[in-house]
């Protein structure tokens, strides 16, 4: 009895409610509705009972109407398939209105609705209860606002009308939410840096890991850029952002230099970045934020700088080498009146220099081994005639070039006047490294079995080159002894000088 009374009370309350309610059968025909519903739709009860709801509601002629019908159907289907309640937060639905002259027009209304399944004892859905609120006035009010301060830069950037559409396309909401999350996820994982700044003060609304990494700070969300990155002050970036925000003109930076002072660090870090400041606009075209994206091009910029330095250095070395060859040509010419012997002598010196260059090129100009330099310069005279004896020793480029030229002159001289001019003559080259604290290379070039030696009457280019090179280029000492039983050259060369650079 009590249950019946309750049912009667509930039915009365349902009928009396100012909120529109209606009940649909699972095949979407009207099973019942209250007075408020009839008022809202402007129909009589007997016009509706038993009729399919979509005979009554056609949604108007336009595309949005069709879309809304689709949404409504989808919501019912969802309730029927899942057995769960479904909500439509906002749906525009044109209602047929018949005026005093009997002319029917459609009037645009905005609704919010929830659809609740009612089950029988076996759990089958027997009815769908629709609870509707007419929010037309509210929605009109919302839409009439010119400026929409609640529209965030993030909402606007996430696919332009995504959020706007979300209002109309309620069924898509979850999918859009997923899409939005996926976009955010993509931002977060992008290899380049990405940030979204909102409002004229450029408040960090979103930034990805790459952004936090390059600025060296993690606690920037919700702060203005001036608060978050005070280390950028004076570098022009704040002013650029202000200008992009004010003018709506995007700004693109190429290889721009930027200096960060990471949190808790006392050291500045300079990077080069390619970046874009892209204004974000709301539906009315007003700038509401700035999309920042870019990537670190420090390595590329450095590589370009290194390349320029290398080209400058190469040019410098080539010019120096040319000056060296010029000198060799001039000095050689002075000791050879005969063009034929000049050419031979000059070529031999050129080839010697070239050989040492080859050796250095193999080590990327880091240096060359002393024995390799010696072998290059003495190979032409046969492997058994010059005996090399000493430890492996890495020479810097300048020392390798100097010693290459020196040994070339010694070998040439030995072949012309010394031990190598006699088939039984030999040359012994011994070297040691003395004084490990301040290493000194000692080299002795000793000729035996050659013709009797006489000191030259005038110093030729060869001996001047040897002495000058050792003293001047290698800061060492040279002693040339014209002993009667064989020529001896002794060198003492410091190995660990600060610079071996050829200027």
């Amino acid at each position: 009895m009590r249950a019946l009374e309750q049912a009667i009370d509930l039915a009365a309350a349902f009928e009396a409610s100012t909120n529109p309610y209606m009940l649909l059968t699972p095949d979407l025909r009207y099973a019942g509705m209250n007075a408020a519903y009839l008022t809202a739709v402007g129909m009589q009860r007997d016009q509706l009972i038993g009729r399919p709801i979509f005979d009554i509601f056609t949604g108007g002629e336009d595309a949005e109407g069709e879309e809304n019908l689709r949404q409504l159907k989808a919501s019912f289907e969802k309730v029927l398939t899942t057995g769960d309640r479904d909500h439509l937060a906002l749906i525009r639905f044109a209602m047929p209105v018949t005026d005093a002259n009997g002319v029917t027009t459609h009037e645009e209304r905005f609704w919010s609705a929830s659809h609740t399944p009612l089950h029988d004892a076996a759990g089958n859905i027997v009815l769908i209860l629709q609870h509707t609120s007419d929010i037309t006035e509210l929605e009109r009010l919302r839409r009439s606002r010119d400026d929409a301060p609640l529209v965030s830069a993030l909402d606007m950037i996430l696919g332009g009308g995504v959020m706007t559409r979300a209002h109309a396309v309620q069924e898509d909401n979850r999918r859009l939410e997923t899409e939005r999350n996926r976009l955010v996820e993509m931002f977060m994982q992008a290899p380049g840096f990405v940030a979204i700044l909102s409002g004229p003060q450029h408040v960090f609304q979103l930034h990805n890991d790459a952004y936090a990494r390059i600025v060296g700070r993690g606690d920037i969300a919700g702060k203005t850029i001036r608060e978050a990155l005070p280390d950028l002050e004076g570098q022009g970036y704040f002013e650029l952002l202000d200008s992009v925000y004010a003018t709506g003109e995007p700004y693109e930076g190429k290889g721009a230099s930027v200096t960060f002072r990471p949190e808790g660090s006392d050291r500045d870090i300079s990077r080069n970045v390619d970046f874009l400041y892209q204004p974000i606009r709301d539906g009315a075209g007003k700038v509401v934020g700035i999309f920042v994206q870019g990537h670190d091009v420090t390595e590329t910029v450095h590589a370009a700088q290194r390349q320029k330095l290398m080209i400058d250095e190469l040019n410098h070395r080539v010019k120096n080498t040319l000056a060296t060859i010029q000198s060799i040509a001039m000095q050689t010419a002075r000791s050879h009146e005969d063009p034929k012997t000049f050419a031979e002598s000059f070529q031999a010196r050129l080839m010697s220099l070239s050989h040492t260059h080859d050796l250095l090129t193999r080590s990327h100009w880091e240096g060359a081994d002393l024995r390799a330099v010696l072998e290059h310069e003495t190979a032409a005279h046969g492997p058994t005639r010059i005996v090399l004896n000493g430890p492996p020793l890495a020479l810097g480029p300048a020392a390798a070039l100097s010693l290459g030229m020196i040994f070339h002159e010694l070998a040439t001289n030995a072949a012309k006047y010394g031990a190598l001019s006699d088939p039984d003559g030999r040359v012994f080259v011994d070297w040691t490294v003395a004084n490990q604290a301040s290493r000194t290379l000692k080299v002795i070039w000793r000729e035996v079995g050659g013709p009797p030696v006489e000191a030259p009457t005038r110093r030729g280019f060869g001996s001047r080159l040897i002495e000058r090179n050792v003293r001047h280029d290698l800061a060492g000492e040279a002693k040339l002894s014209y002993a009667s039983d064989g020529f001896i050259a002794e060198f003492s060369i410091p190995l660990d000088r600060d610079s071996q650079h050829n200027g």
Partner: protein, 125 residues
């Protein structure tokens, strides 16, 4: 031809002996007296400080990895004219020294002579 340089003592700062020998030969051919050649900036500064009889100098811009400009400053302070020699080309000199008489490696005798005349303010006949 080269009377303006006869007997002039010219400091040569150049770290590469072959290039130094070339400059010495050119200077001797012009009747000048080469002083040096000096292979480091420090030694060159000593010579500039100690030798009261220098008439001019030829300065390699990069001497054993160091810039020669302190030597140039010392010479300027003493009013001794000088000529830069460089393998770096026109752009190799900092703005401060632009316009200074300069010879580019490799150089001809005429170029060395002309630059020295310019630095010494001697009219070339």
């Amino acid at each position: 031809m080269a009377e303006g340089l006869t007997g002039r003592r010219i400091l040569v700062v150049e770290d590469e002996s072959l290039v130094a020998m070339l400059l010495e030969t050119i200077l001797e051919d012009m009747g000048a007296i080469p002083v040096g050649a000096i292979a480091t900036v420090d030694e060159a500064l000593e010579v500039v400080a100690d030798d009261p009889l220098l008439d001019a100098a030829l300065l390699d811009v990069n001497v054993a990895g160091k810039e020669v400009f302190p030597v140039a400053e010392a010479l300027k302070a003493k009013g001794i004219p000088f000529v830069f020699s460089t393998g770096y080309g026109e752009g190799g000199l900092p703005d401060h020294w632009r316009g200074q008489a300069t010879i580019q490696k490799p150089f001809t005798e005429d170029a060395v002579k002309a630059a020295l005349f310019k630095a010494l303010g001697v009219a070339q006949v």
